[in-house]
């Protein structure tokens, strides 16, 4: 074909349906993320605590065999909501570290390289783009939080007859507890990724937020603690707010004096703030002064 015939022609191939266009982003993002062997190794490492938990469940069930060796796990290890709370805490901490590693790079690279107009000039909306990015995080975080923890619940249900009837409420609450944490991490990670274009600084910021928020809560408590009996300042701490909500969901007695509703409200406000920050910054154009 002659060169002058290479003119613009409309694409006539098959079109992806509008409802599935966001799926293009996670497909490529997951592929590029798992191209890193280090990340893959860390992800596998994140599954070690649930595997240890499964081993404990198995050994406890067969403790009659171990009794011959003087080791009876049933006598000092009860499988109740506390066992799953420990799993939730360990997996929640690992989910936080995983978010620190992967979330800051998700949107900042597109913004830094001015690729956002290229995405949004295609038949893809801003919510679609954001959903695609969020789905990557949700999938990865689900894989190390509620999926293995519910797997442990199923294993215990299979091993001990009658146990599931006593703890039938647990799966839904574990799912909600993990879901709350995943939602907070996703929105926080994406908001930081949008506002801090330098990946390294964004990671540091995300990591620091967790501890700085706790330090600010402690500072406010030191200064204004004697004014009120209820430590309202704890609602400024992400760590304390999540802990309060998780304890309520797992039917554990409340620790500290912060009411559950205050912890939940603090998380809702944080998520709303992150959503607002995302909406404000994520535009197909940028005014450079």
């Amino acid at each position: 074909m002659a060169v002058y015939e290479h003119t613009y022609r409309r694409y006539e191939g098959p079109l992806t349906s509008p409802g599935r266009r966001w799926a293009v982003i996670p497909r490529y993002a997951l592929r590029s993320l798992f191209a890193s062997r280090l990340l893959l190794a860390f992800y596998v490492l994140c599954l070690v605590p649930p595997l240890l938990g499964a081993l404990v469940l198995y050994l406890r069930f067969y403790s009659s065999s171990l009794a011959a060796f003087g080791l009876d796990l049933r006598s000092f290890l009860t499988i109740d909501e506390m066992f799953f709370a420990v799993q939730l805490i360990s997996q929640g901490a690992l989910a936080f570290f995983l978010t620190v590693v992967i979330a800051p790079a998700m949107i900042s690279a597109d913004l830094r390289n001015e690729a956002l107009p290229l995405y949004l000039s295609r038949p893809m909306t801003r919510p679609g783009y954001l959903s695609g990015k969020a789905v990557v995080l949700v999938l990865l975080l689900s894989g190390i939080t509620w999926v293995p923890i519910l797997g442990l619940w199923l294993i215990q249900t299979y091993l001990e007859e009658g146990w599931a009837a006593r703890f039938a409420w647990l799966p839904l609450n574990l799912l909600i507890a993990s879901g709350v944490w995943i939602a907070v991490l996703c929105l926080l990670g994406l908001a930081v990724s949008v506002w801090v274009k330098w990946k390294t600084l964004a990671r540091l910021g995300l990591f620091a937020y967790f501890f700085v928020s706790a330090a600010i809560a402690a500072l406010v408590d030191v200064i204004f603690g004697r004014i009120s009996q209820t430590p309202w300042s704890d609602s400024l701490s992400l760590f304390t707010s999540v802990r309060v909500v998780w304890r309520a969901l797992l039917h554990r007695p409340p620790a500290g004096g912060l009411p559950t509703w205050a912890g939940a409200l603090s998380l809702v406000v944080l998520c709303a703030l992150c959503a607002w920050l995302l909406d404000r910054k994520l535009r197909a154009y940028e005014v450079v002064k």
Binding site: T200, F207, A208, L219, V222, F224
Partner: protein, 282 residues
């Protein structure tokens, strides 16, 4: 008609090295000060430094019941503030934000080679950048420390010592902040020069410093916070799970911190002397 200038006659000879170095150092400091203090890098530091000042000002002006106001011991209040906020977070995060970016920021912005193309010793460049980082963190956090102390102690009468003691405590807290900036600053600049991704060492150092009260006596000494705590005029309990350990004398803590900072700066100087820029790897 003008005659061309000849070297040695019309053009003055270059000044001797010490004055040249001083002039170059001043140039680097001026340039870096503009970048650090007028840019967005300093915002987190200002927020951290301003937070206790704002909250204490609020406490001073808010109308409280007289029994609560009279029961506030300003010295103990500031000791608590310094321990939970300045020592654990403000100094660490403030230094992290400023010092990590001294070289890593230029590498990310792909502008470090402009410095390297100038006829200036790299050690001098490093010294200039470090001085600006130290001055900005030291001045901002130092003012915040001294101001917070004044706002915490002066409005509340309970347990207030004499003027001499107050001044001594204010100076001790401010000096601790400055030494903290020196120690952490040197370490973070070193990390910024050696490690491409400084998040991991920063996280590790933060967790190490956070866990310091719960470490064994020997391990506690391998940290910056241990020496900073030794210099505090008021010591508070570290909590029920903290391991009791003797604090080192300030006469040893100060030289110890200076030695660590000097070692880190020497390593940074050696590194920058041999640094090759490959922006593609960043």
């Amino acid at each position: 008609m003008t005659t061309p200038a000849t070297y040695g006659q019309d053009i003055p000879a270059p000044p001797p090295p010490p004055s040249l170095w001083r002039a170059q150092l001043a140039g680097v400091v001026r340039l870096e000060a503009r970048k650090t203090l007028l840019g967005s890098r300093v915002l987190p530091l200002l927020l951290l430094a301003g937070l206790p000042l704002g909250l204490l000002l609020l406490l001073a002006i808010v109308p409280l019941p007289s029994e609560i106001r009279q029961g506030i011991d300003g010295v103990a209040l500031f000791a608590g503030i310094y321990r939970v906020f300045f020592l654990r977070i403000a100094i660490f995060v403030g230094c992290l934000v400023v010092f990590i970016q001294l070289f890593r920021g230029d590498l990310m912005e792909r502008s470090l080679h402009y410095y390297f193309l100038c006829p200036i010793r790299r050690e001098l460049l490093m010294a200039g950048k470090f001085l600006v980082g130290l001055a900005s963190t030291g001045v901002i956090l130092g003012i915040s420390t001294a101001g917070s102390y004044v706002l915490a102690v002066l409005p509340f009468a309970a347990g207030r010592p004499g003027f001499g003691d107050l001044l001594g405590q204010a100076v001790a807290y401010t000096a601790t902040t400055l030494l903290g900036c020196l120690g952490y600053g040197a370490l973070f600049m070193l990390a910024g020069l050696y490690v491409r991704n400084p998040v991991v060492p920063a996280m590790a150092l933060f967790l190490w410093e956070l866990l310091n009260p719960f470490l064994f006596s020997l391990l506690r000494k391998i940290s910056v916070i241990y020496y900073l705590q030794s210099m505090l005029p008021v010591h508070l309990s570290e909590g029920p799970f903290a391991i009791l350990s003797d604090l080192v004398s300030p006469w040893l803590a100060v030289p110890g911190l200076l030695l660590v900072a000097g070692l880190a700066l020497a390593l940074s100087a050696w590194r920058i002397r041999n640094l090759e820029i490959t922006y593609a790897n960043e």
